[in-house]
């Protein structure tokens, strides 16, 4: 070690500095968002988590209100409950649909697609993972939302929880398929063959012997996909119905998610003379950051044993 330091200090130091920068990035982001959102955290208090009302306040009122030592416009209220519910609900429902579906696709690719077709199915999965989020949103707006509005929804409104759930499910399926496919493929064939030798059918061998043996890997990839769904922005923004101040009553109700609100409320927040609306959006970003950090942090601990081969997740 000491000899290396003496002979190639430059390359070692330069790459080391870059590695430290990569390592520190998340902490830096956390620090900046926390410092920026601190006035909003004090101003909003616990109401941020419990209130349904998002209102930047009366910009023409004389005077301001001060809470927690920080000032906002009269009537300002920054409650994120609607957005937190929308985020968790749409992602959770999407996972309920996507997880069994992705497992079916993954085992079909590993056990039933003939080798000469595998490059093709793999290309389909990776292209689907590569479709930009605005394209999913565009398709959702023009094809899916009118379909839900005309054929399914009693109110005739297609924008909402169901549309967001379907789009999110479509977007996480290729990610889950790719990761579970790799996990199943990496498992030794001995388990499958032992199960077959004991007289099980090929379906029983896969679902009762192979899949249980890789449940950690599957749990990790489910969490990774859940993290993706929680943070998805543009596609959800385009089909969610932009609910504000009201919780969803049914699967057809308009909803809103934290990520979508951060984009859709930008222009409105910039008009807030006190700046509290912008800082409250910062608090939303911080909340989303913390939620996804926990989900991803746990997922990566579970997946730590596995090798890092997948290019899409």
């Amino acid at each position: 070690m000491m000899q290396r330091v003496r002979t190639q200090p430059f390359l070692r130091l330069a790459t080391g500095a870059l590695a430290v920068a990569s390592f520190a990035l998340i902490f830096l982001m956390l620090l900046f968002l926390l410092a920026y959102a601190y006035p909003a955290i004090r101003f909003n208090g616990i109401g941020f988590l419990t209130s349904l009302t998002w209102n930047i306040g009366n910009q023409y009122a004389s005077g301001t209100v001060t809470r927690g030592g920080f000032t906002g416009q009269v009537g300002a209220s920054f409650g994120a409950l609607v957005f937190i519910c929308g985020t968790v609900l749409s992602s959770f429902l999407a996972m309920i649909a996507a997880v069994p579906f992705s497992l079916l696709v993954a085992i079909a690719i590993v056990y039933r697609v003939p080798p000469f077709l595998k490059p093709l199915t793999n290309a389909v999965v990776e292209l689907m993972a590569g479709v930009p989020s605005v394209i999913y949103g565009l398709w959702g707006m023009i094809v899916l939302v009118p379909f839900i509005g005309n054929k399914l929804s009693p109110s005739g409104n297609g924008n909402g929880l169901l549309a967001a759930t379907i789009i999110l499910a479509l977007m996480v399926v290729p990610i889950m398929v790719a990761t579970t496919r790799d996990v199943v493929q990496a498992q030794s064939t001995a388990i499958y063959e032992a199960s077959m030798a004991l007289g099980s059918t090929s379906w029983q061998a896969v679902t009762r012997a192979v899949l249980p043996s890789v449940r950690n890997g599957i749990a990790g990839s489910v969490l990774l996909a859940f993290g993706r769904a929680l943070g998805e922005t543009m596609a959800v923004l385009m089909v969610c119905g932009a609910a504000i101040n009201t919780l969803p009553q049914s699967i057809f109700s308009p909803i809103n998610t934290i990520a979508a609100v951060i984009v859709s409320q930008l222009e409105s927040a910039l008009t807030d003379a006190s700046g509290m609306a912008q800082r409250s959006l910062g608090e939303l970003a911080l909340a989303l950051f913390l939620i996804t950090l926990i989900v991803n942090g746990v997922a990566r601990v579970i997946l730590r044993g596995g090798d890092r081969t997948s290019m899409v997740a």
Binding site: Q8, T15, G130, V134, I135, L138, V143, T233, F289, T292
Partner: protein
């Protein structure tokens, strides 16, 4: 029917369901493909490439130029940091440090792009007062694709056979020489694959750019700060919501170009993967 026959039958049925599910995702991909191209090809006119966007329609020259500029600068930044990090992790780092850096980079891959965008809005656009700008937009793309670049380079460098490294050291080469003449050339296909995948991801990003690059109807000025930049994904998002047929046509044209760019880079990247895979087998 015997219990054995029922198991056999249900096995066949379930495999049928499973292959049906694979058919569904192929159908969805085809449906999105056909949907975008059916609307978009009619809207692709040569003038799109030579005029800028206006209030309700116009061309895409500014958005195409902006997207290509943002992605190229972003990828160069991500390549420097990502490949550098991977080199340190593989060549120099003690085991515990390598593990810590890899873990944080994997977690970074799961940070929502809008959070990256808001962070840079706070730090650069407002904090340093750069305003909506080319450099802030490029930074947001760089941070977002960094994990993909680092991971690809990391895997590629790790897969360099030990006997090649040892041969180089045994001939008296210094470590820096080994890195530049053995490790990096051997790992190059894997590193390039990662960069291409990153280009594909960068091309399709929207959320972080709204907060960092802003939007502009004019051609990018190349000024690093205080000059917002247009990009294709923004056109898809905003022009489809306008109540004019001409706006919709522009959104579909932008969507078609995006799909073409993204699919071309993905297929190109896959051909590198196949190349690497085949070389490994020989």
């Amino acid at each position: 029917m015997s219990a054995r026959a029922i198991s056999r039958l249900s096995s066949h049925l379930w495999w049928g369901v499973s292959i049906g599910a694979l058919g569904v995702i192929i159908a969805v991909l085809l449906a999105i493909f056909v949907f975008v191209f059916a609307h978009g090809v009619a809207a692709l006119r040569p003038q799109l490439f030579t005029t800028v966007t206006t209030g309700i329609a116009g061309g895409l020259e500014n958005a195409i130029a902006g997207t290509l500029l943002l992605v190229s600068i972003g990828i160069v930044l991500a390549a420097i940091v990502g490949i550098g990090t991977a080199l340190w992790v593989v060549e120099y780092a003690p085991v515990w440090a390598a593990r810590a850096v890899r873990y944080m980079i994997d977690v970074l891959a799961g940070v929502p792009s809008i959070v990256v965008g808001y962070f840079l809005y706070v730090a650069l656009v407002e904090g340093l007062g750069w305003g909506f700008s080319l450099i802030a937009g490029a930074f947001s793309l760089a941070i977002f694709v960094l994990p993909y670049v680092e991971r690809a380079a990391d895997i590629a460098l790790t897969s360099v056979p030990t006997h090649l490294r040892e041969g180089s050291v045994a001939l008296g080469a210094r470590q820096a020489v080994t890195i530049f003449s053995i490790d990096l050339p051997y790992a190059m296909p894997g590193i390039l694959t990662g960069l291409l995948v990153a280009v594909g991801i960068g091309l399709g990003e929207t959320a972080p750019l709204i907060y960092t690059a802003g939007w502009s109807n004019y051609m990018p000025t190349l000024a690093p700060t205080h000059s917002p930049v247009g990009y294709l994904t923004y056109v898809v998002w905003t022009y489809i919501s306008q109540p004019f047929a001409a706006s919709h046509a522009l959104a579909y044209a932008a969507a078609t170009l995006l799909m073409l760019f993204v699919f071309a880079t993905n297929l190109f990247a896959r051909s590198f993967v196949e190349y690497r895979y085949n070389r490994g087998r020989r």
